[in-house]
Amino acid sequence: MRKVLLLLVSCLVIGLILSPCVWSKTKIIKVGINAPLTGDIPKVGEGTKYAAQMWLEDIKSAGGLEVGGKKYPVELVIEDNESKAESAVKVNTKMITQDEVMVIVGPQASSQAIPAGEVANNYKTPMISPWSTNPDTTKNRPFVFRGCFLDPFQGPVAANFIKEEFGFTKAAVLYDVASDYPKGLAEFFKKAWEKANGAGSVVAFESFTTKDVDFSSQLTKIIKSGAEVLFTPQYYNEVALIVQQAHELGWNKPITGSDSWGSAETVELCGKDCYGLFFSTHYAAAGAKGATKAFIDRYNKKYGYVPDDVGALTWDALQIVQKAIQSYGKITGNVEKDRKGIRDALANIKEFDGITGKMTFTEDGDPIKCAVIVRISEKGEYEFYKSVCP
């Protein structure tokens, strides 16, 4: 008993001497990443994490982040929010009060970004959600920003594109009524379409519930309704099922979608059925140029697949954070003061040139940026087709 105790104590003492008491006092720039690494959408979390790690690599190879002529080490605090609202709140609280991060990037999905944004705003910590499209995330929250355009912009973009490209007048919509993003977008699309083509021009407005896998009854109704195009703002797993089932039921007209199609998994699951279809999104991977191409190639080389829009948006969010910290120009060591300064710098960013387009933040913290129409090529790549700006 005594021997064990002695051993334990000596272990502790030796460990204590070796443990790094000295360098814990240097000023470190901490950036929090609040990502859904487990839960319903782990692929989104993975993209976020990989993009963040690539960013950290860049900073490390440059010997730290240069702020006001001095280089500071950067530390990422990556936490898992299990894609649950309460966990996202816990993670944000932990990162702000325990880890004392200066900026938070994430959470991605709106159902986590809305409550987490409340926490960030209460503790006066700047937060950028790269992927959340719900207006409530940033509304009346001066410390919360986002990295993507909103649904009220994307809905009309999709509607107008179909109108101009094909000249159709009758559209059908199939969406998940239980998930806030598809539902919101479906409604904005309907509004925009009916504005352009008159009331009743959305001839079928069909819904299903998350985790449904059989859409034949809705699709049969849609086919019978005489619609000329199907708009379905769904996530990658459902897109594949919907498109394949529609083709099996004899639908041979176009199917279009939104940025949630933009995952690398879509084509993998869907295969040839999805070739030639269009969707609106934040950026196009195939045929990209300049910095966008460099990012895609690097990511592809490192992790073995073409990054989806979450990865690209997270990358941009981190670049914006970097720029804001640099234009703030000093690290005082007083976290509250630094957070406030970084927020002000974020709000003042003008014409930031990211890989997903140029952006400027509005007063609400939403960026003004262009949408891209992407065509899925015969090789299964996402080709740039057209750019639509507000």
């Binding site: 502790l12 443990s19 690494l37 487990t38 609202a85 816990k90 009060t97 809305i114 239980a178 539902k183």
Partner: protein, 416 residues
């Protein structure tokens, strides 16, 4: 021999002694925590007993361990041991008064310790509040799954009803909201109306429970499990389709009324009432129904009424817990109350132990803290926790502390 004697001496420390020890340890953390952290080379006071720090950065393990040892383990055991004699005397004196007096003193000490502990960081506070709420939900489910011996899957549904009903009351009355228009009452009334909102939430949940209870308690067996599972999904899709409360986008901007004393108060009320309920004649009748419904019926127990009352009681507390949950997070969406929540609550009940108030508390606290402490492991967390559950099911099939009565007088009495 010596170690055995020291070990034994701890069993003679009354609850009062332990509480004093905890309180002094927490005070010590307030006074010395920051300087000790500097000496040990940690960056901040470990929020949850150092687990997160150790998993994130194993180099800091000695520092974190030493911190927990110096701030918690040594002071608590030392103070408990030293104060053992006076604490026993005091506990005996307190028992001369009515029992509630002693209980209030104990609870007061306990609350003071929790309050000071959670003051150190907001993360602790949030974890503590959600853990207390988890205790309420687990306990209320234990009434159905443990004491009544049926298998109910509708608790997330009851929580959702309670959360939304309570939120609607507070948001309509006290918040200028996009969905419900301007506030009807001055915000100063808020904290006073909040209990009413919570009780409303509980009542709505109980009403929902009645809808399940009437058809499903005509028979025994798996029917309740199936009907209640269906009920959970019905509630979820109902809220998703109700545009008035925000649909799938959820309802936010609840006022910040659920502070620690409020949550603590409701949790204690829940434990107290549940404990009294299951030890009452009705509770014993409930156990009789569980063991053999026919025999219970023969012994003049009105089985149907007993079951319905217990079920509504459980639903009520799940609703109150849901209301608190919504006001702690200040946001609810229907997706929160799905299968994942159900699995979480069921795990807490079966991990902690059936038919036992202690068990529910142990289950809820241990799984909440474990979930938080193992977060840095990411995906491996979902291997370790289920593995633990399987081990518990193999070695203690009814849970860690099953079939144990919570006797308050035994708890607060002197041990010497």
């Amino acid at each position: 021999m010596l170690s055995r004697r020291i070990w034994d001496s701890f069993f003679r420390v009354p609850l009062l002694g332990w509480l004093i020890g905890i309180l002094i340890a927490v005070m010590l953390e307030h006074l010395l925590g920051d300087s000790l952290v500097d000496v040990l080379g940690l960056s901040k006071i470990p929020a949850l007993f150092g687990f997160v720090i150790i998993l994130k950065n194993p180099i800091l393990m000695p520092g974190a361990t030493l911190y927990v040892l110096l701030i918690y383990i040594i002071p608590v055991s030392a103070v408990a041991r030293i104060s053992s004699w006076p604490a026993n005397k005091l506990a005996a004196r307190l028992l001369d008064f009515p029992i509630w007096f002693s209980v209030v003193i104990h609870l007061g000490l306990f609350y003071a310790a929790l309050h000071m502990w959670s003051e150190i960081s907001a993360y602790r506070l949030l974890t503590l509040k959600l853990t207390l709420i988890a205790i309420m939900v687990t306990l209320s489910l234990n009434v159905v799954n443990g004491y009544m011996g049926e298998f109910s899957c509708s608790h997330p549904g009851f929580m959702a009803l309670g959360a939304y009903a309570a939120s609607v009351v507070t948001v309509v009355l006290f918040v200028n909201d996009r969905l419900f228009g301007p506030a009807l009452l001055a915000p100063a009334f808020g904290p006073f109306i909040f209990p009413v909102a919570l009780v409303t939430g509980g009542m709505v949940a109980a009403l929902g429970a009645l809808a399940i209870a009437i058809p499903s308690f005509r028979t025994r067996g798996d029917y309740l499990a199936i009907i209640s599972l269906a009920f959970m999904f019905i509630i979820k899709s109902m809220i998703e389709n109700l545009e008035v409360v925000g649909g799938p986008r959820g309802l936010s901007s609840q006022p910040d009324y659920a502070n620690l004393p409020i949550v603590f108060f409701w949790t204690i009320a829940c434990i107290w009432m549940t404990n009294n309920f299951v030890r009452s004649i009705l509770g014993k009748a409930l156990n009789a129904v569980r063991d053999d419904e026919m025999a219970a019926n023969a012994m003049t127990v009105n089985t149907r009424r007993t079951k319905i009352i217990a079920f509504l009681f459980a639903a009520f507390w799940a609703g109150v817990a849901g209301g608190l949950f919504a006001h702690v997070l200040r946001y609810v969406n229907p997706a929160t109350f799905g299968l994942q929540k159900l699995a979480e609550v069921l795990a807490m009940v079966y991990f902690g132990g059936l038919n036992s108030v202690y068990g529910s508390i142990v289950g809820a606290v241990s799984l909440s803290l474990l979930g938080e402490a193992l977060r840095p492991l990411e995906i491996f967390k979902w291997i370790i926790i289920p593995l633990l559950l399987i081990l518990v099911m193999i070695y203690r099939p009814t849970g860690l502390v099953a079939f144990k009565e919570l006797n308050v007088r035994n708890l607060v009495k002197p041990k010497q």
